[in-house]
């Protein structure tokens, strides 16, 4: 798939497009979905390869077990539903982790940015859940290019891999030939005078970019890093950025503060003497527009600007 810089594409749509693209070359790929394939966009694979798509209906626990069974038959199952509903299958995912699996899980509709549907539909604990498992890989793309590349990495990688996708469209920020690796990160904004590093992933990366542009105008240059590989984290890259920016790091994420990207970064960088601050979801969100909810939870560009000004 080719995407144009600035084009608005939901990462969940890019997930379906990537699967449909991959399916032609890789016959081992099998896709399961819990009756939301028109929301996760697994339907794009289902339309292209109906013989390798299986509707699991609204039964997430069973779906994970079926995926594990298929992975034991030399298939590469990609299993999708809303990130929120994967939590009810955590025991199955946990047992998969102890089963030497090759299982690919996609949780869509992550975060408060889903908007109007409200708290029951928001995946806000999925990173914590997936990070906690032994041997898991946790990926969180911010745009369609990153999604496309990460889905391909997952297909080629053996293990329990999780991809977190976003409901609303986000602008394409990467070129089609940008490279992604498991355990990597990308520095999007940097200068020799950066005073702080903002680490973000997914939807909040775009808020961080807007914030950095505003801060630049206020003579407060900051570095912005896309930590698309939440686990394993690019500790070396983040450490270097932090040490070049007053040992000061701010994470902004659309996930509960507990167990998300912020705590992943803190766990790796705090022992190195780096000061870590986190902006994440810590209230009970409700319905509203994505922008309203991100403002309410203090993960919007303006919230980032306020936080950076208070830190510098």
């Amino acid at each position: 798939m080719d995407y144009k810089i600035g084009e608005l594409v939901p990462t969940r749509l890019a997930y379906g497009q990537a699967l449909a693209e991959l399916g032609a070359a890789n016959k081992q790929i099998v896709v399961l979905d819990a009756e939301v394939k028109n929301s996760t966009y697994a339907e794009l694979f289902a339309k292209a390869f109906p013989e390798r798509f299986f509707e699991m209906f609204i039964a997430e626990q069973n779906m994970i077990g079926v995926g594990l069974g298929l992975s034991k038959c030399n298939k590469i199952p990609f299993v999708s539903t809303f990130a929120a509903f994967l939590t009810r299958a955590f025991d199955q995912i946990r047992m998969a982790a102890y089963s030497q699996p090759n299982l690919k899980i996609c949780g869509s509709h992550a975060g408060v940015s889903i908007g109007e549907d409200g708290s029951s539909q928001m995946g806000l604990e999925d990173l914590a859940m997936m990070r906690a498992l032994p041997g898991s890989t946790v990926l969180y793309p911010a745009d369609a290019i990153a999604t496309n590349k990460l889905v391909k990495l997952m297909a080629d990688h053996s293990g329990l891999d999780y991809l977190r996708t976003t409901r609303p469209p986000t602008p394409v920020i990467y070129k089609n030939d940008e490279e992604f690796i498991i355990g990597g990160s990308h520095t999007l904004i940097s200068s020799a005078t950066d005073q702080l590093t903002i680490v973000a992933a997914g939807i909040t990366l775009h808020q961080a970019i807007i914030a950095a542009e505003k801060l630049e105008k206020a003579q407060l240059p900051v570095r912005v890093i896309d930590a698309y590989s939440v686990k394993p984290l690019d500790v070396t890259g983040l450490q270097a950025a932090a040490q070049a920016t007053n040992n000061l790091v701010l994470i902004v994420e659309d996930h509960r503060i507990e167990g998300g990207l912020g705590e992943a970064v803190a766990g790796s960088l705090a022992p190195l003497g780096i000061k870590i601050h986190c902006l994440g979801v810590d209230k009970i969100p409700g319905s509203g527009k994505a922008d309203e909810l991100m403002a309410y939870e203090n993960i919007s560009a303006n919230a980032v600007v306020r936080m950076v000004k208070s830190l510098l």
């Binding site: 077990g65 034991k72 298939k75 102890y98 089963s99």
Partner: protein, 273 residues
């Protein structure tokens, strides 16, 4: 048939010995399913072709002892059960190479088996059969019923659940006890073919298992009435023995009750031709 009875005695010997040596484990939950699994593995199963999932993973002493009786696991390896560093863990994991997945968190094995059956029927288009050993207590887990619905929807007549109705859970009797008709009504309502048997009578086990793969478009559930602790009179159908190994003294009494054991002998689980 005489041969299966002899194998079952050996398997029961291994179950009791490995759990007593370990000082813990689930011998009684293993003994209830012993005849069912001996009937499956030494009379029907095709090693390296058919698939077996022990959803009731706590019956791991039985799982390992079957392979010990088949000469695929040395007794000295079996006797590392539950020891630090052993592949023969308290509940099976793929550290033991004949365990396909980790099990023991109940209500999950049928879903895994469903995935394998789905693969055989629709993807690889091959004729292996997938057998899942279920405990009666674990049918309280809703995830089983998710799998039951979906297996019928996909017409997986290559998926066979073997339900070990030993009546007793960990802390108390199950909701249905030995009401096999209750299980049958539920399974049939979910679109499954069923067969009720005495799970300790090889004359019933073999014909029931031979239905595997023959049920036109329905998965098959063999609903077997069993006795927890079967083979050791002072353990049989007794509450309070779940997850407990025998003392040395009780162990020696129990072994005597099994009858003649031919320890040096191994038996073949046939391979697919």
């Amino acid at each position: 048939m005489l041969e299966l009875k002899e194998i079952a005695r050996l398997v029961r010997y291994y179950i009791l010995t490995c759990t007593t040596k370990a000082g813990s484990g689930h011998p009684t939950s293993s003994l209830s399913a012993t005849d069912l699994m001996v009937g499956l593995m030494f009379n029907q199963f095709r090693l390296g072709f058919d698939r077996l999932i022990f959803s009731k993973g706590h019956a791991s002493p039985l799982f390992y002892s079957l392979y010990a009786a088949a000469g695929l696991l040395k007794p000295e390896e079996l006797y590392t059960l539950r020891k630090f560093g052993s592949a023969i863990e308290g509940h099976p994991t793929p550290k033991f190479k004949l365990a396909e997945v980790a099990s023991g968190s109940l209500g999950q094995g049928l879903s895994v088996g469903l995935g394998m059956a789905l693969n055989a029927k629709y993807l690889d288009k091959t004729s292996y059969l997938t057998y899942v050993l279920l405990g009666d207590s674990e049918l309280a887990e809703g995830s089983n019923w998710e799998a039951m619905s979906l297996a019928a929807h996909y017409k997986l007549n290559n998926l066979i659940a073997i339900l070990d109705v030993n009546r007793l859970g960990q802390a108390n009797p199950t909701m249905h006890g030995w009401d096999l008709a209750a299980y049958e009504a539920k399974a049939q309502a979910f679109g499954w073919a069923t067969k009720i048997i005495d799970g300790h009578d090889f004359n019933q086990i073999a014909p029931a298992l031979s239905l595997a793969g023959t049920t036109a478009s329905k998965p098959l559930m063999i609903i077997a009435k069993t006795i927890k602790g079967k083979g050791v009179s002072f353990l049989e159908d007794k509450d309070g023995w779940h997850g407990k190994a025998l003392s040395e003294a009780d162990y020696h009494l129990a072994i005597k009750k099994l009858g003649k054991i031919n320890l040096g002998k191994t038996w073949t689980i046939k391979s697919a031709n």
